[in-house]
């Protein structure tokens, strides 16, 4: 559905996207994960026909994004990062305008149907300027969905929403993503994990890693890190835990929690739990610590650069 070949874009001297290659199949939700300025938005803008690439090419549904831009734009629904809304229009009028631009035969019905889909039917005649941020985001999403596009490109669709709204929007995107190809960007790892079939991590315009969320987690984690919390003093326990075979890097945090990790393969959590009970500690909590996106990034950048570093050390 989406095919990107050696795509590059430079703004003057700065290279925003650096020979990107990837593919997305129909019915797949592809997550674009990366820090700010990684080139996510630029890539999306090229795919939607907003701007041409400096070199390379991309096709959507077999149409070239530069030479057959209009055909591509007909088949793509796009939600930009800053939700493009006319605040002086009502939600209904706005969607009717978009339906007209998309040449839908019955703009009025399409607008109402889509408003229903995003749960804003009761605000149809309210001015967009009076809607909350979450509602505006949903109007923006409605705009991207109104013509039932084959490909949906969403730039940070859940940014600025409250937790309940985030769940709603995620649910909506997953529903839509069953039949359509969805490319969405985010900088929240858990979001990408929950929603996407495949994740592309990009940094400085390049793909650092491409994998399924499950593989990504285990691959990056390498060692599983666990936090343990007991009632009262825990320093003695920490030294005992450190004696278990396979347990590494035991640390006592300032709030008394013990953190440790073990190599992948054998799960040492039961052993640690047993030991804690045997030593008559009140076990309050034992949970795995997932790496945050920042840590994954640091990890990846470290993995990326070791050649130079090691040589430098020698």
């Amino acid at each position: 559905m989406i095919r990107v070949n050696d795509l590059s874009k430079n703004y003057g001297v700065r290279l925003a996207v650096d020979s990107l290659n990837f593919e997305a199949k129909q019915g797949e939700i592809l997550g674009f994960l990366g820090p700010n300025g990684a080139g996510k938005t630029t890539t999306m803008r090229i795919l939607t026909g907003y701007m041409p690439p400096s070199s390379g090419n991309a096709t959507i549904a077999g149409y070239d994004v530069v030479n057959e831009s209009l055909e591509v734009r007909k088949r793509v629904g796009y939600l930009p990062e800053t939700v493009p809304l006319y605040t002086d229009m009502t939600a209904h009028d706005y969607l009717k305008f978009m339906a007209d631009l998309r040449h839908l035969p019955n703009a009025d019905d399409a607008a109402l149907e889509t408003l229903d889909m995003v749960g804003l039917l009761d605000r149809a005649n309210g001015y967009i300027g009076n809607l909350s941020k979450g509602m505006r985001q949903r109007v923006g999403l409605a705009q991207a969905l109104i013509h039932k596009p084959e490909v949906l490109i969403l730039d940070e669709p859940t940014i600025g929403l409250d937790p309940a709204q985030i769940l709603e929007v995620r649910h909506l995107i997953r529903e839509v993503g069953k039949e359509k190809t969805v490319l969405l960007s985010t900088h929240i790892l858990s979001e990408a994990q929950q929603m996407c079939d495949r994740i592309l991590i990009i940094n400085k315009g390049k793909i650092v890693v491409e994998d399924t969320p499950q593989n990504l987690q285990s691959k990056l984690a390498g060692a599983q890190r666990v936090q343990l919390r007991v009632r009262g003093e825990s320093d003695d326990l920490a030294s005992k835990i450190a004696e278990i075979k396979g347990v590494q890097e035991v640390k006592v945090q300032t709030d008394g929690a013990i953190e440790f990790q073990f190599a992948p393969g054998k799960d040492l959590r039961p052993d640690v739990a047993k030991l804690t009970i045997e030593l008559k500690y009140d076990l309050l909590e034992l949970r795995p610590i997932n790496l945050s996106l920042e840590e994954i990034f640091l990890e990846l950048i470290r993995e990326d650069a070791p050649v130079e570093n090691k040589e430098g050390e020698k």
């Binding site: 803008r45 939607t48 026909g49 907003y50 701007m51 041409p52 209009l70 734009r73 007909k74 793509v76 796009y78 930009p80 800053t82 939700v83 493009p84 809304l85 006319y86 605040t87 002086d88 229009m89 009028d93 305008f97 978009m98 007209d100 631009l101 998309r102 040449h103 705009q143």
Partner: protein, 250 residues
């Protein structure tokens, strides 16, 4: 064509929500109304003093309206593209299945239809003259005057849209448009005074005031004047479409 109409409809209805558009409409109608009143008073004064009053016609209304439109229309065109850029909706329009020229022509058409509303309303004034005077006013002159006005509005808006597409800031668009109009209205005709023959003709031809006040207001409809206004409109629209295209590449 359908896309142009969709954009035009949107622009047209958005003007009815804009305080600036209402102010422009209000100013136009009030000032033309005042001019009408002054002419009206002069007429009735003449009838008291026993002098034979000169029969009124649509010329003073049309010429003042043309001048006012030149000064006020930049306030309507400044937002056409700049506002879309500011609100982020440009990204929406540029990723919709819409050609760049359709966007620009649609915006021009929406503004044009909107301005036709106040211009149409001012027809009341010559109509009142028509009813007041015996035998009515010169109707062919009226047609020439209002044809000139419609063509001038088309040219002003065409150039206005073109300039607005060059700027991301409304005030910059406003001032540049006004500057261009002032040049086109007054300054470009000045060299004609110091020239003879072809030079004189060329600069006279380029001057907006010469074309509008010199031809249409006096009742002269010539093909070359019509072409003049239509070319200015087209030039503005081409500049606008090109500017949108350039926007994509940078």
């Amino acid at each position: 064509m359908r896309n142009i109409w969709t954009i035009a409809k949107k622009e047209f209805s958005q003007y009815f929500l804009s305080p600036i558009a209402y102010s422009v409409m209000f100013l136009l109608l009030v000032i033309v109304g005042i001019i009408f009143t002054i002419i009206f008073l002069q007429l009735s004064e003449g009838s008291f003093t026993g002098q034979e009053p000169t029969p009124p016609d649509s010329r003073p209304i049309a010429s003042s309206l043309g001048f006012l439109l030149m000064l006020l229309l930049p306030a309507l065109t400044m937002r056409l593209v700049a506002d879309e850029v500011r609100m982020g909706t440009m990204e929406l329009l540029l990723t919709a299945p819409l050609r760049d020229y359709e966007l620009i022509v649609g915006k021009w058409l929406g503004a044009f239809l909107f301005v036709l509303v106040p211009v149409g309303i001012t027809l009341i004034f010559p109509l009142m003259f028509h009813m007041m005077t015996e035998g009515g006013i010169d109707q062919l002159l009226l047609i020439s005057n209002y044809l000139g006005l419609v063509l001038a509005v088309s040219a002003f808006l065409g150039m206005g849209v073109g300039i607005s597409a060059l700027f991301s800031n409304q005030i910059a668009a406003l001032l540049s448009t006004l500057a261009l109009f002032i040049i086109m209205w007054w300054l470009i005709g000045i060299p004609a005074n110091f020239m003879q023959g072809a030079g004189n003709e060329i600069f006279k031809y380029l001057s907006l005031s010469e074309q509008f006040s010199g031809n249409f207001v006096r009742g002269t409809i010539s093909l070359s004047s019509i072409i003049y206004f239509l070319s200015l409109t087209a030039l503005g629209l081409v500049i606008g479409s090109t500017a949108v295209e350039i926007r994509r590449w940078r």
